[in-house]
């Protein structure tokens, strides 16, 4: 397997707080990584550093052996690391269709981006196809700020996916949606992204989601990775049960 992403001795501190404390990890192509941890454990900080929102205090990040430490969001996106957000980042006054069209236009922009029309029939047809793949076509003409949370999440991920990413980082893709919706959202997202051969890393608090969709789990605690294993092993880990899942020492001792 080829390593798509490698972090070496990654540190990030905010004053006296170490949000990332010597993170060393290598992620292979095609993996579906579930990132777990309590609030403030450093999960989103890790995603923010990889996607260029935050620069590490020290350490290195490699994408296919290319040093990407300190890349900005635009550069990270251009090389194929895209992301969605815990709070969906949409163009609030545009419709679902317009949001995705702009994303597609930017992704496919070549020379003369200020002159070639965005709304070509071919692109519009593909846009509808993608909306259909993410099962949000019925919301095509609805203004983004009025969309239900689940639809906003899916649209956010669909917008991130049109850049043909090699790696997609999903920050809490099912947060804020009903329990009934969670699995259907993940089914839609994972199915769509698998068709694109995308390596997926998703931050998640719901252990059922992690068990079902991740092929590997990274558990964060206090800025460190305390477990890096298959889901069943990681979720059985004593430290993970104590610091991430929040079981009491008594419950852990009882098995």
């Amino acid at each position: 397997m080829t390593a798509i992403l490698r972090a070496e001795s990654l540190y990030k501190s905010f004053g006296a707080v170490n949000a990332a404390d010597n993170i060393n990890v290598s992620i292979d192509e095609g993996e579906v990584i579930g990132v777990i941890g309590a609030n403030g454990a450093g999960k989103t900080t890790f995603v923010n550093m990889v996607t260029g929102y935050l620069a590490p205090t020290s350490g290195k990040l490699y994408f296919y052996d290319r040093d990407i430490t300190g890349f900005n969001p635009k550069s990270a996106t251009e090389i194929g690391i895209c992301r969605s957000f815990q709070i969906p980042q949409l163009f609030s006054t545009g419709t679902t269709f317009e949001n995705l069209m702009v994303a597609m236009g930017v992704a496919e922009e070549g020379a003369m981006p200020f002159w070639k029309p965005l709304d070509t029939e071919e692109r519009m047809a593909r846009c509808e196809e993608i909306l259909s793949r993410y099962e949000i076509l019925e919301y095509r003409d609805q203004i983004a700020q009025t969309l239900p949370q689940g639809v906003r999440k899916l649209l956010d991920i669909a917008m991130a996916s049109v850049h043909n990413p090699k790696m997609l980082m999903l920050d809490e893709p099912t947060s804020g949606v009903t329990a009934a919706e969670k699995f259907s959202i993940m089914d839609i997202v994972v199915t769509a992204l698998r068709q694109q051969d995308v390596t997926i890393l998703f931050v998640e608090h719901d252990m059922e989601i992690v068990s079902r969709y991740a092929t590997r789990v990274l558990a964060f605690y206090d800025g460190r990775i305390i477990a890096d294993a298959k889901p069943e092993d990681a979720l059985a880990d004593e430290q993970v049960r104590q610091f991430v899942i929040g079981e009491t020492a008594h419950a852990i001792a009882a098995g």
């Binding site: 969001p73 702009v102 994303a103 236009g105 070639k116």
Partner: protein, 320 residues
């Protein structure tokens, strides 16, 4: 408003309306030229406005265009109006290109005030430059049009009106095309969510920089045409009140369509002319009152009136 109707307006309605302007009475021709020249500046402001940016310093580029028309023929044997407008617009664009590296990092009030600061620096330089006529400015030499030099002043004015109308129409076509492109559609996107634009792989700063340059090019062209029409340039063209007037007209016009700035500019010039004519002691009161009324009752500007009437008609048709 349907896109078919918008296309009809732009490709048919606007050129016809501009051409009809040629038949205006002599006294109104000058008003028409100035309206359209300033409309070009407002068209550029519309681009920035849609991106969530307001420039209180477009007078800088308007004045730069005007002074280029005044200065250039003194040193280079160029008198062709088309060439002068082209060079003036390019010069203003070049200034904006340089300033843009700083300004593109700022948003909201900081962007607005920095624009004004640069325009006031330019104003200060002009006022202190005796070789440029200081506060009095200087006269602009008569221009020719593709080798033809009109003999009569009114003939010259009508040819200049036709030139200005042509430039204004071409500018509208360009801006309309631009707004339909990927980069153009990022105008509202940047206003809505700059972070998302970056994470789509496009630099919001580059997009803002480009719009700033386009706005400056349009302002430079407007300034050049106004200078030719007036036959004189002075630092008042760069003064912050002039920049404020452009912002005023942008609010009056609305930013719903590329034609709106031209309509708004014409309405403003007519309003001001008649206000000065009939209330010479209180014309600012009239103009200010109108702005207040527009903000309170037409927050989308005059263009929203056209949109509303069109939507009303569309609803009526669908009801039938």
């Amino acid at each position: 408003m349907t896109s078919a109707f918008k296309s009809k307006l732009l490709y048919l309605g606007l050129p016809i309306a501009l051409a009809l302007g040629l038949f205006m009475p002599d006294w109104a021709i000058f008003l028409g030229i100035i309206s359209l020249a300033k409309g070009l500046v407002v068209l550029g402001l519309m681009l920035l406005w849609r991106t969530g940016l307001v420039s209180f310093g477009q007078g800088l580029f308007y004045g730069a265009g005007a002074y280029t028309v005044g200065i250039l023929p003194q040193y280079v044997p160029i008198s062709d109006a088309f060439l002068l407008v082209l060079i003036s617009a390019a010069g203003a664009g070049l200034i904006a290109f340089g300033l843009g590296f700083l300004l593109r990092r700022y948003r909201e009030i900081f962007f607005a005030m920095l624009c004004m600061a640069f325009s006031m620096i330019f104003y200060g330089i002009l006022v202190k430059s005796e070789s440029l006529g200081s506060t009095d400015g200087f006269n602009v030499v008569q221009t020719s049009y593709l080798g033809y030099t009109p003999a009569e002043p009114i003939e010259m004015q009508r040819i200049l009106y036709a030139t200005t109308a042509l430039v204004a129409w071409l500018a509208c076509l360009f801006v309309n095309r631009y707004l339909g492109s990927t980069m153009g559609r990022l105008t509202r996107a940047i206003k809505d969510n700059e972070l998302r634009v970056e994470y789509l792989g496009f630099s919001a700063k580059v997009a803002v920089h480009f719009k700033f340059v386009v706005a400056a090019v349009l302002a430079g062209a407007g300034g050049a045409l106004a200078a030719i029409a007036i036959g004189h340039v002075d630092p008042e063209m760069v003064w912050w009140i002039q920049s404020g007037e452009f912002v005023f007209v942008t609010i009056l016009s609305g930013v719903g369509n590329v034609i709106a700035p031209l309509v708004g500019s014409v309405v403003f010039e007519i309003l001001r002319t008649f206000a000065i004519e009939y209330a010479p002691q209180a014309w600012q009161f009239v103009v200010g009152g109108c702005l207040l009324a527009v903000i309170m009752f037409l927050p989308g500007g005059l263009w929203s009136l056209i949109e509303r009437s069109r939507e009303g008609r569309d609803d009526g048709n669908s009801a039938r």
